[in-house]
């Protein structure tokens, strides 16, 4: 968030490089350890990672697949990053995502014959509202009762999954498709579908929306009054109080915003990719959002990169499995190790001493402050 603030280009580049070192190093080490595991299982890691790279970027189809996988975790990553910035731990993105998907699907299913440029935004707004609504109770409890948002949002994730499961239940669900083989809703109204970006692939406009949202949030956090308040709260809630910030109201705002963005993730998945609301449709996008936000140090533009990275991992995993037989779950190991190395503090300190301590811009990382 350093553009237009008065830093010299050189300063900005140096600090960006400094801030990028730890995430990159964490990723590198994670790959290193995973390579050891792959060797232990009897495969050449170079071949394995090579096929992964190919599967993620090697062709137009590969890129499209990466893009498709990137979209939901871009949104959830943004949702979590927003909450982290304000010092709030929203681990409920998964549940908010489901509620957003449900609300979005409900609107998208309406056969009211609206043109796309009305139907789509309506569905998206509904998705945002759904996610925000799901974040309301944990937000209220934290803002006005001081109850930790971690356990409440976590538990509500499972409630949300079950709620959606009920909604699309083939026997009793209000929007469940009767007699279907899977628990799913009917297909949404064609006008509510997001346009496809690349013909022949599933890559849809949701990605563009996500990128736009990332930029918008970057502007919000770095350049608006609300963003300033959020950062005050996240950096020093005591001083924020002394400066007149009403923390309860801010916490509510941030939770609703964060939940809403996660809700968008779900709605976009429904109207962009699946065109139906499915039972258990998310393989953990909400939790991936946490990893994405961490790797990006809660910077919205960084989230673009880190969500792309994790998406590439997932997209490449399939072709790696086909090429070498290595399970796709190795990718989960890489992801987990990345985070573990990221929070392992001596790594940061070691880098600091090697890098000769370049000028520290204000607002260094969330992880530092922990």
């Amino acid at each position: 968030m350093a553009i237009g603030r008065g830093y010299s280009l050189r300063q900005m580049l140096r600090t960006a490089a400094y801030r990028a070192v730890t995430p990159v190093l964490s990723v590198f080490l994670a790959f290193l350890v995973s390579a050891a595991i792959i060797i232990a299982v009897g495969t050449d890691p170079i071949v394995a990672f090579g096929s992964m790279l190919n599967g993620a970027f090697g062709s137009q189809t590969a890129l499209a697949t990466t893009g498709v996988r990137m979209t939901p975790i871009l949104f959830t990553g943004l949702a979590v990053a927003v909450s982290f910035r304000a010092g709030i731990f929203n681990v409920g993105a998964e549940g908010q995502l489901y509620l957003g998907a449900a609300f979005g699907a409900a609107v998208a299913l309406l056969p009211i014959g609206l043109p796309a440029f009305i139907h789509i935004p309506l569905a998206l707004i509904a998705g945002f509202i759904g996610g925000a609504a799901w974040a309301f109770v944990p937000g209220y409890l934290r803002a006005y009762r001081g109850v930790s948002e971690v356990v409440t949002t976590l538990m509500l994730n499972f409630v949300a999954i079950q709620l959606v499961s009920y909604l699309v239940d083939p026997l009793v669900g209000p929007i469940g498709e009767r007699g279907a083989a899977y628990a799913q809703s009917a297909v949404i109204d064609p006008a509510a579908k997001l346009p496809i970006l690349l013909r022949g692939t599933s890559l849809h406009a949701g990605l563009i929306l996500g990128l736009a949202l990332a930029v918008a949030l970057w502007i919000l956090i770095g350049y608006t009054r609300l963003g300033f308040r959020m950062r005050m709260l996240g950096a020093n809630p005591i001083a924020a109080r002394f400066a007149g910030v009403k923390s309860a109201r801010e916490i509510m705002t941030v939770m609703l915003l964060s939940g809403g963005i996660a809700g968008l993730a779900g709605a976009v998945e429904v109207i962009g990719l699946r065109y139906r609301l499915f039972d258990h449709f998310s393989p953990g996008y909400g939790y991936d959002g946490i990893a994405v936000a961490l790797l990006a140090n809660s910077n919205p533009l960084g989230v673009i990169l880190s969500s792309g990275f994790f998406a590439a991992l997932r997209a490449g995993a399939n072709s790696m499995q086909q090429a070498t037989g290595i399970e796709t779950s190795v990718v989960l190991i890489i992801q987990a190790l990345t985070i573990l190395f990221l929070i392992f503090r001596p790594l940061r300190d070691w880098i600091g001493s090697r890098a000769g301590r370049p000028p520290r811009l204000a607002q260094d990382s969330l992880i530092d402050a922990a």
Binding site: R225, L226, N236, A239, F242, G244, L361, A362
Partner: protein, 515 residues
């Protein structure tokens, strides 16, 4: 006069203890000599070195030089465990009690149980009850600590020390948490324990209590012993003089502008502290335009709560506060009303991770020219910072430097520069010179004077008497949550101020009572 004491055996001698933390010299060749059966008071303002000395005694710090002698034998104390083994018991200011455990459980925490690992709850409980009865220290052995009153917790801490066979008992500011009615009980216990041959070190900065209960007094100031004498030879005046920090060298400047407009009106205000004890017990104050009201008094007598009430950060349980006719809830939100320089500049007044320019607009960022239509105007914010940095001579690499990299004095300047930006009608500065070097102190005081000259009403809360006298137009003294009286800022009033800090009201002092 000292003869009786010389004959009493020496229990503890901390001999020329020196301890520094980096550049800060906390204790400079401090010698403390406690006799058997003696209640020895350790007196000094905050930052005088009392707590560091006691932490050394309790094994939490190792001295850079100096020795510790117990019963005539030199010992080293490497950890609290060792201190306890030597018979040193400490009742800290912050109780070392686990809130969710019962009294008995707290007492036996860390002690070797007879039938390890089983707890000897029944035996411990019995012994605890016996001890409590013996010293008349009422404590419910089965009550969880969080249910106990602060006085009860303190009694438990004392029992804990006795349970472990303490021969030297250190009480760190014990009366801070007690109601006036409970203080007598504490002193009775102290006398009883002392008469049994124990030594008691009583740390305090309350002159009245020191004179009431102790046998001998040692006064610390800025890490050095400024005096040690039998209590009966000490007067409030001599003690206050030994305690007072810097010399009164800052000359008074302009005569105060006598304004008639009332800016701050406080009537009959009561409030409660975070702990639930009475914070303010009926405060009446009026501050007018163009004057500096100095609030003197020993720390912990309600000054903190008063500042928070004025700023709207603490609810008032009775009475009213008006800042330019507005309630305290508006004070921090409406521009031009209040500039607050809080006590803890880094935790409360600044956001360390933010840069100087951001810190300078913490209160003003919502308004033009710093933001328009919801968007921040960073260029304006930066320009403002450049300007303020120059105006206040803030030494820093530039407006974008992270504020945590500034020195204490410069950080304080940032706070003051921000808080005075709107030319607020009222400025409240709480311990603004704490932790600053002489030069920085000078700057801060001058800045406050400038504000007064501009026409602001300034409330200056400080434990540094010399500064209060040098800066203020009027001086009041707070004691136990109320204002004891007002005096002109005359060095000659030092004696009366000292008495008021001890709890005597101005009327009774002026009514001819002896100092």
């Amino acid at each position: 006069m000292e003869d009786g004491r010389h004959q009493t055996p020496e229990l503890l001698r901390m001999d020329r203890i020196t301890k520094s933390f980096g550049p800060l010299l906390a204790d400079d060749a401090v010698t403390l000599d406690v006799r058997v059966g003696e209640i020895h008071a350790l007196l000094g303002e905050n930052g005088a070195g009392k707590s560091t000395l006691m932490k050394v005694l309790y094994g939490l710090h190792q001295p850079d030089s100096g020795e510790i002698w117990l019963d005539g034998r030199q010992i080293t104390i490497g950890s609290p465990h060792e201190a306890v083994a030597h018979g040193i018991g400490m009742v800290h200011q912050q109780f070392m009690l686990v809130p969710n455990l019962t009294a008995t459980e707290n007492v036996i925490l860390g002690m070797r149980a007879e039938r390890r690992p089983m707890l000897d709850l029944a035996a411990a409980r019995k012994r605890l009850v016996e001890l409590a009865r013996e010293y008349d220290l009422g404590v419910d052995p089965d009550a969880p600590v969080w249910q106990m009153s602060l006085g009860g917790q303190q009694r438990l801490e004392i029992l804990k020390a006795l349970f472990r066979g303490a021969r030297l008992l250190v009480l760190d500011e014990p009366t801070a948490v007690l109601a006036p009615s409970e203080v007598g009980g504490l002193f009775r216990i102290m006398r009883q324990l002392a008469s049994e041959g124990r030594g008691i070190v009583f740390i305090s900065h309350k002159l009245s209590e020191v004179t009431e209960v102790s046998d001998h007094v040692t006064v610390l100031r800025l890490g050095r012993v400024t005096g040690t004498l039998p209590t009966r030879e000490a007067t409030a005046h001599t003690l206050a003089t030994m305690m007072v920090g810097r010399e009164i060298s800052l000359a008074r400047t302009t005569a105060p502008v006598v304004g008639t407009d009332t800016v701050l009106e406080i009537s009959g205000v009561h409030c409660v502290t975070d702990r639930g004890t009475p914070g303010l017990t009926g405060v009446d104050l009026v501050v007018r335009k163009g004057e500096i009201l100095g609030i003197a008094g020993v720390d912990g007598n309600g000054q903190r709560e008063l500042v928070e009430c004025i700023a709207g950060l603490r609810p008032v349980t009775a009475g009213t506060i008006l800042v330019e006719g507005r309630p305290p809830s508006s004070a921090l939100r409406e521009p031009g009303l209040l500039g607050l320089v809080p006590e803890d500049r880094y935790e409360q007044g600044l956001i360390g991770d933010f840069d100087v320019s951001e810190n300078l607009v913490l209160r003003a960022y919502q308004r033009p020219p710093y933001s328009t239509n919801g968007f921040l105007r960073w260029g304006r914010i930066r320009d403002n910072a450049t300007q303020r940095i120059a105006a206040f001579d803030i030494r820093c690499p530039g407006p974008l430097a992270p504020v945590r990299s500034l020195s204490g004095g410069n950080q304080q300047k940032v706070v003051i520069a921000r808080e005075t930006q709107d030319d607020p009608a009222l400025i409240v500065a709480s311990q603004p010179t704490r932790g600053l070097d002489v030069g920085a102190v000078e700057s801060v005081l001058n800045l406050l004077r400038q504000q007064r000259d501009r026409g602001a009403a300034v409330v200056f809360v400080s434990t540094e008497l010399s500064e209060v006298l040098a800066l203020s137009d009027r001086v009041v003294v707070m004691h136990k949550g109320e204002v004891m009286g007002e005096v002109p800022p005359d060095p000659a009033a030092l004696g009366r101020i000292g008495e008021m800090m001890m709890g005597r009201s101005l009327e009774s002092i002026d009514a001819g009572a002896v100092a």
